[in-house]
């Protein structure tokens, strides 16, 4: 069964989907481009050839529909939307017209017509500058190969030829190939090409199948029946492994398994350190997040409710009643002792409201956004504050102001809040008189005046994503400068440190709600600096909770003290230092 006669070879690729697996290879070769038959047809056959073409389109449409339905059942994400796009391409009149014209004008068979049209489009995609868009050529090949297979009357090769458990090795896998493979027989994927964002990578992650992509030329070297190790966590693939390599892999798999089990066990426990100091781990959510999503990860409250999604979903300003209903629903969904922080409208910059007809700004990230927009549109602001206040009778709800940069903004905001309270009192509507209001610290200027902001607010929430972008003047989506986006930059760490000290001096609670909260390395450092609670995307909560449960508070305090003495170093040195330290404390954590 197991052919392991060759020399051991180690390949490095991209870790596309976590997990380790060992098994026999099945090489899945994509040969349709070479195998497409080409022949002339006589003019009298044109109409029957076109009919054949149309039937193939119909059949293909049906197949993609059922694949899409299948994917919906298996994964909750939006990956199935890709297939909707495939159906739309099939429905695009331009595509079928082009194929029909080829048949009519060149008197060629339908397979060749599809092949020519697909090749024309593929050439356009392959010449694109943007790598991500260039890679989308696979969507075109995927549809083309399916059409040609249907014309030839050949069934799904991949699906029908895989009959026993194996690791699929291929040059590249299309989304429909990935999903049409029999799930219960596929142990792992290893492909020559592909990136972490290709559809096949996303799908293998969604299905929980270990995968390594971008390996180079494995599919030319490996043969059916060869023994192969795939480590989707480290991105390593080993062909003809020796016993030592197999043992190593099994060890890694065992660690992964126990780690995942221990995450599950922590689900219903509160976040705390090994020496039982509480570290609340709460969630960043929008109006679409369900309470079961929060329960599934053991979130202990909501540190950031992004109210702008109400605007985006309706494509207009929600009314006061609509907002009240939404915030009330959110607060009621939580346990009575759990807190929820509603962040007021954080739009502008990149998320301009379609209806507001604002003239374009030369520099939206430095422009009229967020609290600045609200203070210039007090009617909008009041409607939102009234809605938040009205919802506050239903549970522990607090308000957060984003983008505060100057003290006047906080004062004006509090003034408007007081006016709203007066109005509600006069109207006889109930609200929590002691509602807490806090400042989202995400501009360096706010961090530097944190002391005066703390006097007039109840809590701070540090929005690290924007704080980093504004401190380092870096748009992290701009590839040419993205490497300068450094969470561990000493300037960023010092601003955070300063904010914490100022806040604590006035008994303000400090939350971190940016992505730094969900990176265990940074979270432990920030905890050592004094952060009280961490709010993050729900699916990262189990990992961070696990890490905190493995360290004692003094470990974190000591790390923070050491890092404070290293501010003359590069960010990467600081980060590496924290990471190594954490790995010594929690050896099995997959970082």
């Amino acid at each position: 069964m197991r052919s392991n006669s060759g020399v051991m070879r180690v390949f490095k690729g991209l870790p596309a989907s976590h997990g380790q697996v060992a098994g026999t290879v099945y090489v899945f070769r994509k040969k349709w481009r070479e195998q497409v038959p080409e022949y002339d047809i006589s003019a009298v056959l044109i109409s029957s050839e076109i009919e054949r073409l149309q039937e193939a389109f119909t059949l293909t449409r049906h197949q993609i529909h059922s694949l899409s339905a299948e994917l919906c059942k298996r994964v909750s994400g939006s990956e199935s939307a890709t297939f909707e796009g495939h159906v739309m391409i099939l429905d695009d009149p331009v595509v079928i017209d082009k194929c029909q014209n080829k048949i009519k004008e060149q008197l060629c068979n339908a397979e060749w017509a599809v092949h020519s049209v697909v090749s024309e489009y593929a050439a356009i995609f392959e010449s694109m500058e943007d790598e991500y868009l260039r890679e989308r050529v696979n969507d075109i090949y995927d549809i083309g190969s399916r059409l040609i297979r249907n014309l030839l009357g050949v069934s799904d090769m991949a699906a029908s030829l895989v009959t026993k458990p194996c690791i699929i090795v291929a040059e590249e896998l299309s989304p429909s190939e990935t999903i049409s493979l029999p799930r219960h027989l596929i142990m792992g994927f290893a492909t020559d090409r592909g990136s972490l964002t290709s559809h096949a990578s996303l799908i293998s992650r969604a299905l929980g199948i270990p995968a390594v992509v971008g390996i180079g030329n494995l599919s030319e070297i490996a043969a059916n029946g060869d023994y192969l190790l795939v480590d989707g966590t480290s991105g390593t693939v080993i062909l003809h492994p020796d016993q030592n390599a197999i043992d190593e892999l099994n060890k890694a798999a065992e660690i992964n398994k126990t780690f995942n089990i221990s995450l599950e066990e922590l689900k219903n426990k509160l976040g705390q350190t090994k020496d039982n100091v509480r570290v609340p781990l709460i969630a960043n959510i929008d109006s679409g997040t369900t309470i079961s999503d929060l329960e599934a990860v053991g979130a202990e409250g909501v540190g950031l409710y992004r109210s702008e999604y109400l605007w985006l979903a309706l494509n207009r300003e929600p009314t006061e009643d609509e907002q009240t209903e939404a915030y009330t629903r959110a607060v009621r969904a939580l346990e009575p002792d759990q807190e929820i922080t509603i962040r007021v409208l954080d739009l502008g910059g990149d998320k301009i409201i379609a209806n507001s007809k604002k003239p374009g700004e030369a520099n939206p990230f430095l422009g009229n956004r967020s609290i600045r927009y609200l203070l210039r549109n007090p009617d909008v602001f009041k409607r939102q504050l009234r809605a938040v206040l009205r919802s506050s009778v239903h549970g522990k709800l607090q308000i957060m102001y984003p983008m505060i940069t100057v003290l006047e903004e906080l004062r004006e905001t509090n003034q408007i809040l007081a006016e709203c309270m007066d109005e509600l009192r006069r109207e006889g509507r109930g609200f929590n008189e002691n509602i807490k209001q806090g400042v989202m610290v995400e501009v360096p200027g706010a961090a530097l005046i944190a002391d005066s902001l703390a006097v007039e607010s109840d809590f701070f929430s540090i929005g690290t994503n924007d704080l980093i972008q504004y401190t380092l003047a870096v748009d992290r989506l701009n590839e040419s400068v993205a490497r300068l986006y450094q969470p561990a930059h000493p300037a960023v760490l010092q601003l955070i440190d300063m904010t914490i000290k100022a806040g604590h001096a006035h008994n303000s609670k400090i939350t971190v709600c940016g992505e730094m909260a969900s990176d265990p390395v940074m979270a432990v450092l920030l905890y050592g600096m004094g952060v009280d609670e961490f709010s993050m995307t729900p699916n990262m909560i189990p990992l961070v909770k696990k890490v905190f449960s493995c360290i004692i508070r003094d470990d974190a305090l000591q790390l923070a003290a050491e890092v404070r003495g290293m501010y003359a170093q590069e960010a990467s040195t600081l980060y590496q230092y924290c990471k190594e330290k954490l790995l010594r404390l929690v050896p099995n954590v997959p970082l």
Binding site: G85, M88, P93, V94, S127, E129, L133, K351, A354, L477
Partner: protein, 99 residues
């Protein structure tokens, strides 16, 4: 002619979603464009394609940051442009494309 020109609406937009005009954003754009009684065109650096053809949109190879000129001609041209420009500015409402 005059009548037609009156019903021609143009709007420059900047593609700001993370991954550019690939299959999913293109499919959403096509869907919206097709709902309106107007011809919709999308231009990128001199190349003009139909805004109702998903594949044509994809062939533009428009990455994040690309300037596009949207043109609609017909009875519902302004409604079409308003909704399409909104869709583009909201990064097609696709969560993965937002940050």
């Amino acid at each position: 002619m005059e009548d037609l020109a009156a019903r021609r609406v143009e709007r420059k937009v900047c593609l700001s979603n993370k991954y550019g005009l690939h299959i999913r954003p293109a499919s959403l754009f096509t869907k919206v464009a097709s709902r309106y009684n107007a011809d919709v065109y999308v231009e990128k650096e001199g190349t003009v394609v139909s805004g109702k053809s998903i594949l044509a949109l994809m062939t533009l190879g428009a990455a994040c940051g690309t300037e596009l000129l949207l043109t609609a001609i017909g009875e519902q041209s302004s409604e079409a442009i308003n909704e399409l420009a909104g869709l583009v500015s909201r990064k097609f409402d696709i969560p993965e494309e937002q940050d």
